[in-house]
């Protein structure tokens, strides 16, 4: 039995397969959230809905069938990245009850957290992880084993949390990181994530041996799969980042008018 998705040498079929590692992760996530609510208040319906959406994004991205298909198609692997690094983390951070943030702010966030969630550091870390986890040599080495694939997914979740923290989390407080800088921060991400997009879409040959040699899926060539992966990163990323920019702008506009 597989506990985590990875590239497999057997042909794809639609037989359901459980990934126990994903279930354990989700169970821990739910248990942690329940405990957080017990200790710091339940928050609003919006917080609960955000947590449900975050958990759903993690589940969709990691469990069968997307998680399994991510071992066959680079495009689905990219979709997985979008879900667990760009969609789920901001929702998860937003879902944390205000009481928990107040407690963190009052107790003083640890130095390492203040450091890694500094906008400049967070932006660099996020891009570094995105670059490394899409680097063919590393992907080919890691995706063929379950621990390796887990490492990539865990890196994406961590990178997503670090990236979204300065934008969503109220603690540690960063009064200097205003709406203009927040929009610039998000815009910078649209530019920096263009590098993987460019090499995936315009590379003349398949870049990842893990996906090139994986049993093919009917209806899509290896090159098309890679190009779709690149487009997903660019277009999907653009939708997420520009939505973020729009939200920041709208909140800023509303605050200026108030």
């Amino acid at each position: 039995m597989q506990w985590w998705c990875s590239v497999r040498a057997v042909a794809w079929d639609w037989t359901w397969r459980p990934f126990l590692g994903v279930w354990v992760l989700l169970a821990l996530l739910v248990a942690g959230y329940v405990r957080l609510r017990r200790c710091h208040g339940v928050g609003t319906r919006g917080h609960t809905a955000a947590f449900a959406a975050a958990a759903l994004a993690f589940w969709l991205g990691l469990d069968w069938p997307l998680g399994a298909l991510a071992g066959y198609l680079a495009s689905v692997h990219m979709l997985q990245f979008m879900l667990i690094s760009l969609v789920a983390p901001p929702l998860l951070l937003y879902s944390i009850p205000p009481g928990a943030w107040a407690r963190l702010a009052a107790s003083g966030p640890p130095a390492w957290l203040r450091f890694v969630t500094h906008p400049l550091i967070a932006l660099v870390l996020f891009n570094l992880i995105v670059f490394l986890t899409h680097w063919p040599t590393l992907v080919d080495a890691l995706m063929v084993s379950q621990p390796g694939s887990f490492l990539i997914n865990a890196s994406w979740i961590a990178a997503g949390l670090v990236f979204w923290w300065p934008l969503v989390a109220p603690a540690p407080a960063r009064p200097g990181f205003g709406p203009g800088l927040k929009m610039a921060y998000l815009f910078a991400a649209t530019v920096t994530t263009s590098a993987p997009f460019l090499y995936l879409v315009f590379s003349a040959l398949p870049m990842y041996s893990a996906y090139e040699l994986a049993p093919p899926i009917e209806g899509i060539t290896k090159r098309e799969d890679q190009q779709v992966a690149g487009l997903l990163m660019k277009l999907g990323g653009a939708v997420v980042f520009w939505t973020g920019i729009a939200v920041v702008f709208w909140r800023w506009h509303r605050a200026e008018e108030a």
Binding site: A9, V10, A11, R114, F115, H118, P119, L120, I121, R174, P175, G176, F177, G178, P179, G180, L181, M183, A184, F187, T190, V191, S194, L198, Y199, F202, S203, A204, L205, P206, S209, E212, L213, A214, P215, P216, T221, K222, R223, I245, F249, W252, H253, E256
Partner: protein, 210 residues
Amino acid sequence: MIRFQRRPVRPALTAAALLLAAACAPASDEPAAGAPADSLRGLALPEPLAKPRMVLADTDGEPFDLRAETEGRLTFLFFGYTHCPDVCPVHMGSLAAALDHLGRETRAATTVVFVTTDPARDTPERIREWLDRWDRDFVGLRGTVEEVGAIQDSLRMPRSVTEAPDADGDYLVGHAAQVVAFAPDGRTVFYPFGIRTEDWVHDIPLLLDR
């Protein structure tokens, strides 16, 4: 500790600047190809094999004489079957992608020959439809199990083995996973499974002495 300084920026001005910068983002970036090395990535046999003497029916039902039809051409010979879930489509796909990448002149000097190891299910129409997914110029051949086995013997390759069918009547055919290349200068090179498109792109010009 690094801190951002608060600066008064109007929302509309910022939005305009972001949109303008997005419009100026680069549109393409063609990666450079690696410099070719002299050594082949396939396994060149120290004692080349002769092209097998074989005349099998092609997908139009016409006899195809391998030696006569591929005289002086770079020839890739592969034994597989169209229901193959992994090795065969990967080999055909990567060879087609490489030939497409290398251009018309290289394609014109090259013949890819696919010989089915599953004549019971691989009708000429089925083989043609399957090969056309990758390249309409790929040649598909069909013979009896015994004829194909004899050709494999001549290439010192193991004969294909048909496994027992499952409840749905589907079955796998065990077959050698390597593509055999016969270069115009007489060299014989074996390419096992794991060979990538970039390896073909590297080796094909070398096999053609270009």
